[in-house]
């Protein structure tokens, strides 16, 4: 009797990867899932931070998908290793700062490492020919297989019958005839297959899972690099870009102002690391200062913050500034008017 083959499935939390894992599991293969955390995953972060929408239960889509399929899921932190992929993508960026093709190659190469370390036999992805404009074009799929090093141990069950047979198919570890021949941008075949398997609740597919595809986020990241004079980032940087109103009134500093209570609570966790401002005479948001204040900047920052407080119509607002040395000082300022907040300050 031949031993049970083992496959590692890249699980994004979307429908396609969930279906791909299920299709192979149904053939008697032992499947386990892997999900990579780059720091740019949308995955409910803003939902976790903001009060708005709290009535909906917040869950990790990849974990939820794995549970629906009935497989284990291993979540791997690749924040540091991902930096060169984002900063110098060999295949360039998509519409914004999304290095989709390099990202896919990198993740499959990491899955290959995991596969070999854990003595699995092949890799599964939910890719479909023509589903996405950059990383799933027909001429690109062989590039992904080759440059990731996975070669023919990479099986795409949803479109396998449109591609040359891979090792798992040739060796009979899976039955090629029971794999699928999806192609193109239509979601109907996937939705029909989801219905067949009884998956009625799944994350909305295709493209919305990465902040790097978001124009506003990409603009904030570009601004961060420009202001620091180097293309680099730390974990805190990329988390803070997801939160609050970002205003850069001077090249050497910006304000990150909470827009509601949940964001205020989240930003409060960074008070030990960043100089910050709060209004003390009137209720108002917390603002972190990213950068350094020069002469006159403290008053400027305080006047901006006062504009976003409940004292915006008052003659004067008292603002407390806590600096890098954690020393406090009070500033009495006139809140800015709406017209004084220059549109170009908004990042």
């Amino acid at each position: 009797m031949s031993h049970q083959r083992r496959a590692v499935a890249l699980i994004s939390g979307g429908l396609d990867s969930m279906l791909a894992a299920k299709v192979v599991k149904e053939q008697g293969v032992q499947v386990e899932g892997i999900n990579f955390f780059t720091g740019f995953c949308v995955e409910g972060h803003t939902h976790a931070i903001r009060r708005k929408g709290r009535e909906r239960p917040k869950r990790n889509s990849a974990l939820w998908s794995a549970e629906q399929v009935g497989i284990k899921l291993h979540i791997i932190d690749i924040v540091e290793e991902y930096k060169p992929i984002l900063l110098n993508p060999q295949h360039g960026y998509g519409q914004h700062l999304n290095p989709c093709l390099d990202c896919k190659i990198f993740m499959i190469s990491k899955a290959l490492e995991w596969m070999e370390a854990n003595r699995f036999d092949f890799i599964i992805t939910g890719e479909v020919i023509g589903q996405r404009p950059m990383s799933q074009r027909k001429n690109v799929l062989p590039v992904v297989a080759r440059q990731s090093g996975a070669e023919d141990r990479l099986l795409r069950p949803l479109c396998a019958r449109n591609l040359p047979p891979t090792l798992p198919e040739r060796e009979g570890w899976v039955n090629r005839e029971q794999l699928l021949a999806f192609s193109g941008r239509s979601r109907k075949p996937q939705m029909a297959l989801a219905q067949h398997y009884g998956f009625s609740d799944y994350a909305q597919p295709a493209g919305g899972c990465c902040f790097l595809t978001d124009r506003r986020y990409a603009e904030k990241l570009t601004d961060l690099w420009a202001s620091r004079g180097e293309r680099d980032y730390q974990m805190d940087d990329i988390m803070l870009l997801k939160v609050g109103r970002h205003l850069r009134p001077r090249p050497h500093f910006k304000l990150i102002i909470a827009r509601e209570e949940g964001e205020g609570n989240f930003l409060a966790g960074y008070r030990r690391s960043y100089p910050h401002l709060t209004t003390t005479s009137h209720p108002g948001p917390l603002a972190l200062i990213d950068g350094s204040l020069q002469q006159g900047d403290a008053e400027l920052a305080a006047r901006i913050l006062a504009r976003y407080s409940q004292g915006r119509e008052a003659e004067r607002v008292t603002v407390e500034l806590v600096d890098h040395q954690r020393e406090k000082r009070q500033l009495e300022v006139v809140p800015m008017t709406a017209n004084e907040i220059a549109p170009e300050w908004q990042i």
């Binding site: 976790a48 990790n60 990849a62 974990l63 939820w64 549970e67 899921l73 291993h74 979540i75």
Partner: protein
Amino acid sequence: MKTVTLNARHLLCPLPVIRLQQQVAELAAESRIEIICTDPGALQDIPAWCRIHGHRLLAVHEEEGELTLWVEVGNSGTPA
């Protein structure tokens, strides 16, 4: 059996799960972990992760925006 405490305050999903996963990989079956989180998503994600890996969620306590979850390690041989 000794209980290991993990501080996952101010970490957003899925980082609390990743920290738990890394800790579990170093412990023997029946070891216990107490994980303290502030991301409300942990209420969904940690129990889900425990279910799919065969670990036991012993208890959950919520107080003043902090969640404490107690987990007993199962026999699944989970790689990190």
